[in-house]
Symmetry: none
Subunit: 312 residues, 2 copies
DNA sequence: TTAATATTTGACAAAACTTGAACAAATAAT
DNA sequence: ATTATTTGTTCAAGTTTTGTCAAATATTAA
């Protein structure tokens, strides 16, 4: 297995090289092997471990108490208290320092305002090592999309900003699900918006939610005809289709589209509908036996139960 | 099997000849055969290997540690790239052998047909380590987009396929330019399509071209109003705006949009127009002093000359 | 022959790494 | 309030690594 010099470890963990060394000397957090000339060489496990330790210390744990914990114990620790806001870092001049979720959010927001896609992505990449995935979704990506959408509607931001934010989040969603939905056996879900629904914010959020719930997420983008959605579902053996309806709330075509989708699918997949305007189409939704979810946590709940049923 | 002298290898790998020799002498990174007169002759595998080693060192790995790794190990090392997931990655099961550009193209195409975004991305990732960036753009991404677009127009593929292909390429463009346009001093270019132009294939290709020509590329997506384009240009101090016009070829709004863009910019940036339908708007293009390019290589030529002029 | 390209060796300087010590800021203990 | 302890950073001095260069020699092509 290839081993890495300390600069690579620093880059991937977001910790400074000095800190990594001092954690080793003072607490034996990791024990890298050495070359004949005394250089440290780290394994991939060492890096994972340091990332976990970094997150844990950010959420308030003291390094001396956790340095010797096993990987499993660290994961348990993090998933239990994932919501703790990190303490304010006094000196934040280096871009390598790990920041809190709200700081990342602010940086992303500024980058969107400045129309700098590269900066957004770099920020999100850093955030992804500094935060747990749940925190990244719920405290950074979600709020970012909501606030950009709101400001766009109020006229403070322009279409480009909304486009740009979706593009970046979409990119990130793609990256995530790539390295995440590991199992080939994972249940599949198609996420999209029907014809007439041009805004993909909701669909993207649904995609993020599904991915973090362990589904293999196939994101089709906005404004897709029922026939195309259906063929995607059948082609992929997807168990669920998630549709996001944001605006308009009274599109006369929607009834047709949904019924058509239901007909072609013939019960082979569960249709789940959500979004701000979903309520407006309740009649059709009930008629075709689709599920209506009112927010992302009920989506997650539905997905979990569908998954456990089919797994049995 | 064809063998290559060192100057060819240097050109293809982007490494200096001296560096290639020193990697051989100090670490046995490659062991080219010699002619009777002691000249080195490299195989294609040697070249691939050197490209991989170059990328790995670029990302921080130390040459002394990785010089002896096998090709597969190098690829795995590079694929680990951005995120490190605690879970076992499905990349272990992926075929790691390096293929030719046309094989990658075929795999991508099949993945698009099967609506499998994850597979497309995995394939492109492998292609990106197995091929030079130029080959990836010109022999895989470009042809993929063109053929998907054509088949869509002929009715063999559906909208989803086109959406999916653009989404993946867009994602990939984002990734590329992130790790690519390193220089803060690099000239900036805005790439987009005006209102009414819904297809982003051309714009994506233009973005890829600009990125590989060393420009910091800011991609806004399709269907953007002139006012928004202009504010993006001014906000970013961009030197060039590239617009792609594919379909329709006779939108009556286009005249207004282009003139408006020209007026707001006031000569602060060069407007370049391209795409299948650009010719149809020649009148306006000439009127506002924009450049019309007929293909991607002329775009590249224009960008090169603009860059060298402003650099002086 | 002349100019361009390669090869080998040794040398060199910049960048990176290691260790030890000192320091300031924040926390905990008295 | 004062005193320890913890924690992360910074500095200095001494190695090691790494890419580049120059010099001397050899080969190739025009």
């Amino acid at each position: 297995m290839p081993k890495h010099p300390i600069r690579v470890v620093a880059k991937k963990t977001g910790l400074s090289a000095g800190l990594i060394r001092i954690w080793e000397r003072r607490h034996g957090a990791v024990t890298p092997v050495r070359t004949e000339t005394n250089r440290r060489l780290y394994t991939d496990e060492d890096i994972e471990r340091l990332i976990l330790l970094g997150r844990a210390t950010q959420s308030g744990e003291s390094i001396s108490q956790i340095a010797r914990l096993s990987k499993d114990e660290l994961i348990k620790l993090l998933s239990a208290g994932g919501h703790i806001e990190p303490k304010e870092s006094s000196a934040d001049r280096v871009d390598l320092t790990i920041k809190s979720a709200s700081e990342y959010l602010e940086l992303c927001f500024k980058a969107v305002r400045d129309l700098d896609p590269g900066l957004i992505e770099a920020t999100l990449l850093k955030a992804s090592v500094g935060l747990t995935q749940r925190a990244l979704f719920e405290q950074v990506l979600g709020p970012l999309m909501y606030s950009v959408g709101d400001l766009w509607r109020e006229g403070d931001l322009k279409v480009v900003h909304e486009h740009l934010a979706s593009a970046v989040v979409r990119t990130f969603l793609g990256n995530m699900s790539g390295g995440y939905a590991a199992h080939e056996s994972a249940p599949r879900i198609i996420v999209t918006t029907p014809v007439g629904q041009l805004h993909e914010f909701g669909a993207l959020m649904a995609g993020l939610t599904a991915a973090s719930a362990g589904w293999k997420t196939i994101y089709l983008g906005p404004n897709i005809p029922a026939g195309d959605i259906a063929s995607a579902v059948l082609h992929n053996n997807a168990r669920v289709v998630a549709l996001s309806l944001i605006y308009p709330a009274d599109d006369p075509r929607m009834g047709n589209e949904l019924e058509q989708l239901h007909t072609i699918l013939g019960g082979k997949a569960q249709i789940i509908v959500g979004g701000r305007s979903a309520e407006g189409y309740r009649n059709v939704i009930d008629k075709i036996g689709a599920l209506l979810v009112k927010d992302l946590s009920s989506l997650q709940f539905r997905l979990d139960s569908i998954r456990s049923v089919n797994a049995a």
